[in-house]
Symmetry: C2
Subunit: 509 residues, 2 copies
């Protein structure tokens, strides 16, 4: 058994059976071993950001790691921005990176780079394998590390000769550490705080699950949620929980009057960016924070313990919604159409940026679904995360709500959707502009956007043809320029499986 | 004057008038300042790898830096792989990265990351600005640093508040350090070595220029060149200089009998990858190496001094070449067609990977041109480097020789070519496979490529439609499936300016 085979067997023994891959020469042993060791699904991605984003989406939906296989420092580099998002989503991932063979590393060959240095900013665990014999054991360590809690990226760097050399037995099956439940006395103390006026809950991490939210609903206090959490149950049953807004002014308004916030796997809320003459924190200045459960603890269990004496509550169910009748296609009409046509148990990957709020308002009335939002603010996650979510949940409809700006960072995900016949409907919100930057430019003190600045925010000259872009990667693609057209196309997409792209050309504002 | 304006004025005073940009909120002050401070050409790229690759291409052609403007850690992360190539090309670049405002940095906001850590593996100089007042001075330091010699990436990280706050005067105009010329005694010693049997020259860096090669030709010894140098003069006049082959076997054959290699801004040649049971060095084991000029020295001047007593030689000129007559479209017929139709003084960006050798053989007979090859082996540089070369040299025809695998890493460069009306002809060699990996898989010990491994090398299911992909980004695109078709399309492309894409579907091997 060579090292690559030992690695593969270790991953499989530990339940990792999906590998998002963009391999090169130094990873060829692993690729070759796929035919000798059955059970690993190798999914090819044409750019590494698709690998890392898809592994993130898979982890968000399953709580379990997929593996990524990347080629040396530069291949890893292309995956870093979506690993940044995975880090903020607390997603477990085993990130395997090939390295030059040990005898070759002393030379400054073209691809020689400091792979560990590339990996560190996004990884909770980084290790370069020291010998083929230690392959199995170190791979098991990587698996254990990625689970945390909380989940993290474990980057395992493997010199090529350790893959092709004889190795020992596969590594052991590891038992991830359980998330501790806070002690009863601590929960009682928090319960007392919750009974004081102006108390509220803020949920993130695994607390932001159906179980956590169901318990939170029983507590009779306002429930807020971290909008940048990896996975958020949304729709009518969960609409009682308020997403903290993106901009500080509406966030401050929402939180005004709150005197104590109980944090459940969450941190005190801060704005996305800092602005001139404005503080970064968004709760009232005299608000107190108390932690019910830390990021590594079992938030849902803590919430259930906290709610032990409270009666259960009936959560609202989605009613039938009317389709929008306005002709002009806007984020509002798209949101209304999606909410009305949404199948049960859908997964929505949201990278709409400036179009997000009006759509999410409608989705508050839709059937229960999961939202996979932006976590680390690294643009280009929407289509890759949708790819991973669809690999994780083949029986659920995945809808990627994508902007025409952010969608252009990693459009190669469309090809993997086509190859794997993933059930993803990509809705591209086309406003031909980095619209959010118009807003942000003004917020940082620019009153007039001049013609030269405008060029750096404008996505026309030439317009991007998303229908052709989707078709170029093998995805059936259509264009909607009115609300009725959008409704027709979205209905088609919901009626059958497989990848589908709708270029939704928004009416001028 | 705020910090952003001071930065802009400092760059302009130092002759930096091109900025490849993918800005976000923290860089909006710089964008806004473009309308107040004339002279900077801001070029929008839709993914950061296009920014870094284009800055590399610009530097390779001009020897001068462009600036890049990227958004925080994740934006920088997307640019890293092409910065890796720039580092190996010794390209000077001033890489400006926005950072959260200093008061915001203490919070773990979504985009918070260790920006310096992301920058370090690819940068020769990294600095986070400490105050708005020091903006101008530190920007001048960045400019000085990027010149080296040799050239390098200088990463200048700027917290947003230092851009929006009042700043002092712009920084000084800096004088890059001159490359020293090796002392006369050293050159005489090398001259003596050159007269011994089995001596040869190996050129890289700035020595691999028309001036350096002209001097080298007079020395009457074999001249070799580093195939991964940033810019290589090629074509009939320079065909006497031999590119060291990619694979070790032909490299060893080419270098057999060589007893002394004189290095001019070069290092001893090593293979791209290490392989089982094979050494990494490619010269004969008893070959001696002596350095005429180190990477920071003036190679062309050293070569001219070395050749002082030698007669000048007549360099061959390109003869008229026949067009290929075979029907089937292959790298050989494409190479023959390009060589026959190549305009004077063209720039060829070569990322063909497995198709490169047969094309380059024909180009040895073509008119003089510059080749911008793969330097760091980071895939996805071809189209971005071509973008930068076209921005640097608007009067020269740029031809991007791109593979269908490597072209898919950063296809967003096509949009910038369209927007800026750059004179780039992209030839996509379509073999629907990571062909090089077939070869590399066998070299690392795999005799049979099984069906599951095959899926990770195969680019069909679905086929990528490059014509639609090019059109989706606004580039006129055509498909050639035979040699006559290719000739017709390539002739069209050479006859008029502006971006053009030819999807060259190769005949099955």
């Amino acid at each position: 058994m060579n090292g690559a085979e030992s690695l593969l067997r270790t991953l499989l023994a530990n339940g990792i059976d999906l590998c998002l891959m963009n391999p090169g020469t130094s990873e060829m042993q692993f690729v070759a071993a796929l035919d000798r060791v059955p059970g690993m699904r190798g999914v090819l991605c044409l750019q590494e950001g698709v690998c890392s984003g898809a592994a993130d989406g898979y982890a968000r939906m399953t709580g379990r790691p997929a593996a990524t296989l990347l080629h040396l420092g530069p291949g890893l580099a292309n995956g870093l921005s979506n690993f940044h998002n995975a880090r903020k989503a607390r997603s477990p991932i085993v990130n395997i990176v090939g390295e030059h063979s040990t005898q070759h590393l002393r030379y400054d060959a073209p691809l020689t780079a400091d792979v560990e240095a590339f990996a560190r900013p996004v990884s909770g665990w980084v290790r370069t394998l020291d010998s083929a014999e230690n392959m199995g054991f170190t791979a098991s360590e990587a698996v254990l590390a990625c689970y945390g809690p909380p989940g993290q990226v474990a980057s395992f760097i493997i010199p090529a000769d350790h893959s092709w050399s004889p190795a020992g037995e596969p590594g052991p099956v590891v038992q991830p550490s359980a998330r501790p439940i806070p002690p009863a006395a601590h929960i009682q103390a928090i319960a007392a705080r919750l009974r004081t006026p102006g108390a509220a809950l803020l949920l993130s991490g695994t607390a932001l699950s159906e179980r956590g939210l169901t318990a939170a609903a029983r507590l009779g206090v306002p429930v807020f949620l971290n909008r940048n959490c990896g996975r958020i149950p949304r729709g009518a049953p969960w609409s009682f929980a308020h997403r903290i807004p993106y901009f500080p002014e509406p966030a401050e308004e929402l939180l005004s009057g709150i005197q104590q916030i109980i944090l459940v796997e969450a941190e005190a809320p801060v704005s996305f960016f800092g602005y001139p003459n404005r503080r970064s924190t968004m709760a009232p200045e005299d608000c107190e924070f108390h932690t019910l459960a830390a990021q590594n603890e079992d938030g849902p269990a803590a919430l259930e313990a906290l709610a032990a004496g409270c009666p259960s509550v009936e959560l609202p169910r989605a009613a039938a919604l009317d389709l929008p009748t306005a002709e002009a296609l806007t984020p509002d009409t798209i949101g209304a159409a999606i909410a009305a046509l949404l199948p049960a148990n859908a997964i929505l990957c949201d990278e709409m940026v400036s179009s997000s709020e009006p759509v999410q308002l409608h989705l508050n009335h839709a059937p229960a679904h999961d939202v996979l939002p932006v976590t680390g603010g690294s643009i280009g996650q929407g289509l890759p995360v949708a790819t991973g979510a669809a690999l994780a949940c083949p029986d659920r409809k995945v809808i990627a709500l994508e902007a025409d700006g952010s969608g252009l960072y990693t459009p190669q995900a469309l090809w993997t959707m086509a190859r794997e016949r993933l059930d993803v409907t990509a809705v591209i919100f086309v406003n031909r502009r980095y619209r959010i930057l118009d807003v942000e430019m003004k917020r940082t003190g620019t009153t007039v956007i001049g013609p030269r600045a405008d060029e750096l925010v404008d996505l026309t000259r030439p317009d991007i043809d998303w229908r052709k872009l989707g078709e170029s990667m093998g995805v059936e693609s259509v264009r909607a320029t009115s609300t009725p057209e959008f409704i027709q196309h979205f209905r088609t997409a919901m009626s059958r499986p497989g990848p589908f792209l709708i270029e939704a050309v928004l009416a001028p504002e």
